[in-house]
């Protein structure tokens, strides 16, 4: 059975088909959320919430985007809502703690904690998100705007300013 057939069955209320769909996209979603949050435990919580939301909203999935993109949209909006509700100080403390964990994992795998990873992890989430979606996942500005529920111009400005900020940190001598 291909994915489209599973989606059709899931929309009609087939629990088995939906379970299989969620199972197939679990790793993709988890990896996306780890890169978005840079916090594995927060990513895990968000995966759970995203799956519950998908179960609730599957009847509204209209096939205008890929199923994985639909899941990413739900996950992104949940993450943005969560970050908006949390106080800046609380967010900072949690992020610092999570980053130490990520750094430890990198060292365990003999991977260098590069300046680029450090700069990315310290970049504001609302700038990291569109950079990731645009340049890593290859989504268009229009799609990112839809995913983040913001105007296209804001997406462009956040990507532009995010890259400027990263450039300043990584290449302090570079021209603006």
């Amino acid at each position: 059975m291909d994915e489209q057939q599973r989606i059709n069955l899931a929309i009609r209320g087939d629990d088995q088909a939906l379970a299989q769909l969620l199972h197939d996209h679990y790793t993709f979603l988890m990896k996306y959320l780890i890169k978005v949050t840079m916090n594995p435990s927060l990513a895990e919580d968000l995966v759970q919430e995203t799956m519950l939301k998908c179960i609730e909203k599957i009847a509204y999935y209209n096939g205008s985007s890929k199923f994985s993109s639909w899941m990413i949209t739900i996950a992104t909006r949940l993450y943005i809502d969560m970050m908006r509700k949390r106080k800046v100080e609380q967010r900072w403390q949690e992020q610092e703690q999570a980053l130490r964990g990520v750094q430890w994992h990198m060292q365990q795998h003999q991977e260098a904690w590069t300046d680029a990873i450090d700069a990315l992890s310290r970049l504001r989430y609302d700038m990291r998100l569109p950079i990731l979606l645009k340049h890593y996942y290859g989504y268009a500005y229009e799609e990112i705007a839809e995913m983040m529920d913001i105007p296209q111009g804001t997406v462009k400005s956040r990507i532009y300013n995010g890259l400027q900020q990263l450039r300043k940190e990584l290449m302090p001598n570079a021209k603006e």
Binding site: H23, K35, E111, M148, I150, G153, L170
Partner: protein, 130 residues
């Protein structure tokens, strides 16, 4: 930690929908993508739960949603009964008070709709920028 929206320089943006990427920017983007790949490979994550477990989760979630919908419907009917009953009683006892109440409700509803329209048009520019 928190930066103002004014820090975001929208005027300096390239105008075309797919802006030209300079060599320097491309190098920076390549470096960042490599970092994302490293994160992907190194950070451990839990494996996907068995489909049986997911089916159970789906069944539980559907029951919870159904219960929530029933509760919402019940609340809706209760509020409707109170409002319609109260208005009917008011109309039967005092026409002036009923008219004033209707007028105030209408003005409040228009104000609320206008407020939500303004909030929606500003959406994204302010709330997500924090």
């Amino acid at each position: 930690m928190r930066k103002n929206k004014s820090n975001i320089n929208q005027q300096s943006l390239p105008k075309s929908s797919e802006p030209h990427i300079s060599q320097e920017d491309q190098e920076l983007i390549d470096q960042l993508m490599l970092s994302f790949q490293q994160i992907d490979q190194v950070i451990p994550h839990s494996t996907a739960p068995h489909t049986g477990h997911l089916e159970q989760l789906i069944a539980e979630q559907k029951v919870a949603v159904r219960q929530r919908n029933r509760l919402e419907l019940l609340c809706f009917f209760l509020v409707a009964i109170v409002l319609i009953g109260g208005n009917t009683l008011l109309a039967m006892t005092n026409w002036t008070a009923f008219g004033i109440f209707q007028g105030v409700t209408l003005v409040a509803a228009i104000g609320y709709l206008f407020g939500s329209y303004v909030r929606r048009s500003k959406k994204g520019d302010v709330r997500h920028a924090k």
